[in-house]
């Protein structure tokens, strides 16, 4: 390093050139990581999906056969649609329950009740646990014979409600989705709270002076100005619920038990690509890759559409 006492014009130019040149280097590390861990696997999965697979060795090129099989060959096609249906339910319930409750909680905290700080932290706590830990924790709570939930229900004399929540196909998926809501509420609440806090105070005051009542304020000011954060949450919830995997895997394993009632597209993919966890389960790498590609395209397209829609809805301030 030189200590520069004077800065002649030439020097300055050099420095600027250097800067111009360097600026292109800064994304390189990120690009490297991105291409090794994201782009390459994507391309690989795409190429795998066009081949026939014999166990784990690659066979002949078969074009779109894997994609066609995925949608037409039994039992895969019925598994696919069943899993897709479950994913849609996952998304809808998360939107309504998780984001709905989170919005209300954010509003209460925004209104500066006593202990707002405490509540903020309390709601966010579950988020600090790893998803796998959350899964095992709730699995213990929900254990039909010695789990906390059924014990508590028994204490209150609600024996009729004691059931094998995760063993009954009617309740298993819903239970898992609600656990996911419990996990995600804190994050959604923070996003909404940030949205609320960014609403200019003057607007609220002006509305009050003009004699707008509470409902009016909410519908005419708060909601329109909250559109960005609501849309962000929608996109995030959408992506999360269509690639949901860890929680189901931790609580029910990779077979979508019981009787495929908790099967999701990502779980189905795991089963196809890596075989189930049980001995005597076989793999279908080609089908798995085809499913991964379909899932990727679906999520990418929907996310792009959502974002476009969101830009239209923006309120100009």
């Amino acid at each position: 390093m030189q200590i520069e006492t004077s800065t002649p014009i030439v020097k300055q130019k050099k420095t600027r050139n250097w800067k111009r040149w360097a600026i292109h280097l800064f994304p390189v590390p990120a690009l490297l990581i991105f291409s090794v861990f994201i782009v390459y696997p994507l391309v690989a999965a795409l190429s795998y999906s066009f081949y026939d697979w014999n166990g784990i060795s690659r066979g002949a090129f078969v074009g779109f056969k894997n994609f066609i099989d995925l949608f037409t060959l039994q039992p895969f096609s019925s598994m696919f649609w069943n899993a897709a249906k479950n994913n849609v339910l996952y998304f809808v319930v998360q939107m309504v329950v998780q984001n709905g409750i989170a919005f209300v909680l954010a509003f209460i905290i925004y209104k500066k009740i006593k202990g707002a700080e405490f509540f903020k932290i309390a709601y966010f706590l579950p988020r600090l646990l790893s998803v796998i830990v959350v899964g095992f924790l709730w699995k213990l709570i929900l254990n039909p014979n010695f789990g906390a939930l059924n014990v508590i229900l028994g204490e209150f004399g609600l024996e009729s409600l004691q059931k094998a929540w995760l063993g009954d196909p009617k309740t298993a998926l819903m239970t898992i989705i609600l656990v996911n809501c419990w996990f995600g509420i804190g994050f959604a609440m923070l996003i909404f709270l940030a949205g609320l806090q960014s609403i200019p105070k003057e607007l609220m005051e002006a509305a009050k002076l003009d004699g707008a009542n509470g409902t009016k304020v909410i519908t005419k000011i708060i909601l329109p100005l909250m559109v960005p954060s609501i849309m962000i949450m929608t996109v995030l919830t959408f992506i999360q619920s269509f690639e949901a995997f860890e929680l189901v895997y931790a609580m029910q394993g990779s077979q979508g038990e019981p009787y495929y009632s908790t099967d999701l597209l990502a779980v189905f993919f795991y089963r196809l690509a890596f075989g189930g966890s049980a001995a005597g389960s076989s793999t279908a790498v080609g089908l798995g890759s085809a499913l991964a590609v379909v899932l990727f395209l679906f999520i990418a397209t929907c996310t792009a559409l959502l974002l476009k829609f969101m830009q239209k809805k923006q309120v100009e301030m």
Partner: protein, 426 residues
């Protein structure tokens, strides 16, 4: 500033290189020792038995007494991840020198793909009976693995509870059902069983089924396609699974492996239909448990049955750089010395016939195997296809227990699934 910027950059680039090359270097493959002297060959063993690490140490010590020049390392991975990890490293042309093969179709899938070295003519293979070798023999008769251990599935029972209620080991199916009935009337859960985890269902079906199809003759016929799953014997075996539900614990549809094991070793249930590998676990959990077992008595007036299969074999990686040394290790696995070491330390039934251990229950099981063994049909013959027939029966039985499916539906789905891939049925 310039200098600092450069240093940062170079540092980051270096980091990137390390990260991206780590992917390829760290897959625990066959270590390529660069020094050429013979003294330092290291073999790695891959396996899904993480819990057996200390036991393999003893095996390796015994092997080193004979072959001090060959170092052996046991490198297991988690049971549920093993297939994934092994497949990925084999595809990369790496993987351990000695591979723990899953029994029957799933293990042979690797051989079909050319990842496993044929070992025909290995010294000591003749120690094993033919049906034991079958677990790692390809369709063309090529032998790929040395069988390690046999697993059996049977009904374990709590002797103390049986004594208390004046019960004895059943000699016929009806007696077995009478025991269930009596225990239930006297307020004890008869069978520690749950249907939340699919693999337990094909396992239990493998215990109770042979009592109704009468053991090996039927298995022989069905494996040749002379009969199929729609036959009355097989349908009966599914019906029986449904009948047994009333003897399961409350909320059985929500109980998994750990739950039912707990019910049994804490004395809350009298019988436990499961595999021989549970003996050691139960002993650790409750050393005072008076554990007994009985082979499944027949419902059709035949011999009792004890469902037996090979639970794993050891094969050689076709990409290994030390095939000769690996063969020496496999030969050691066929010796009686190893068999005794194995049963004594692992508390499992060695695949080598006539080996004695110091565990009475394991010895009784070994003896019963030679008298009553019947194959675990779903695993031995029907683990192929995708989803495999074995997985299909698991899912469908689960559907039956939660009222989404009936006996005929189970049979129909299973038959259709099997026809899709099993040639004798076509």
């Amino acid at each position: 500033m310039k200098g600092i910027g450069r240093i940062w950059l170079v540092g980051l680039m270096a980091l990137m290189l390390v990260v991206s090359s780590a992917c390829s270097n760290e897959s625990g493959g066959s270590n390529n020792d660069n020094n050429k002297d013979e003294e330092s060959v290291t073999l790695t063993i891959g396996s899904w038995r993480t819990e057996d690490g200390p036991n393999y140490k003893k095996v390796i010590e015994a092997f080193n007494e004979k072959h001090p020049e060959i170092k052996v390392e046991f490198k297991p991975s988690k049971n549920t991840e093993y297939n994934t990890i092994l497949n990925t490293s084999l595809q990369a042309g790496e993987g351990p020198d000695i591979i723990h093969l899953r029994p029957y179709a799933p293990g042979l899938e690797l051989a079909k793909a050319g990842y496993i070295e044929p070992i025909d003519g290995l010294n000591g293979l003749d120690t094993f009976p033919d049906e034991t070798l079958q677990a790692s023999r390809g369709e063309d008769g090529t032998q790929y693995g040395v069988p390690l251990n046999l697993s059996t599935t049977q009904v374990f029972y709590n002797k103390a509870i049986f004594k208390e209620h004046g019960l004895e080991e059943p000699k016929t199916w009806d007696e077995f059902m009478a025991i269930n009935e009596k225990l239930k009337e006297e307020g004890v859960t008869p069978l520690a069983f749950g249907t939340k985890e699919g693999w337990l269902l094909s396992l239990a079906h493998g215990i109770f089924g042979p009592a109704h199809w009468g053991g090996n003759e039927f298995v022989e016929k069905i494996s040749k396609g002379e009969t199929d799953f729609t036959s009355p014997e097989f349908v009966k075996s599914i019906e029986v699974m449904e009948e047994l539900k009333e003897y399961f614990p409350n909320n059985s549809e929500g109980l998994g492996m750990e739950d039912i094991r707990t019910l049994f070793f804490t004395g809350q249930a009298a019988m436990f239909p499961l595999g021989s590998w549970e003996i050691e676990v139960l002993r650790e959990m409750n050393p005072d448990l008076e554990l007994g077992f009985f082979p499944m008595p027949s419902a059709v007036g035949k011999e009792p049955t004890l469902t037996t299969w090979v639970d794993g074999s050891f094969g050689i990686n076709a990409n290994s750089k030390h095939k000769e040394e690996a063969k020496k290790f496999l030969e050691f696995l066929t010796t009686e010395e190893f068999g005794e070491l194995f049963t004594t330390n692992f508390k499992m039934i060695s695949a080598i016939p006539g080996v004695q251990s110091d565990n009475e229950l394991v010895n009784d099981l070994s003896a019963a195997v030679s008298d009553y063994s019947t194959p675990y049909m779903m695993l031995v013959y029907f683990a192929g296809g995708n989803p495999s027939s074995k997985v299909t029966i698991e899912t469908e039985l689960q559907g039956m227990y939660i009222g989404e499916q009936d006996v005929d539906g189970v049979v129909k789905t299973l038959q259709e699934n099997t026809e899709a891939w099993f040639e004798p049925f076509q």
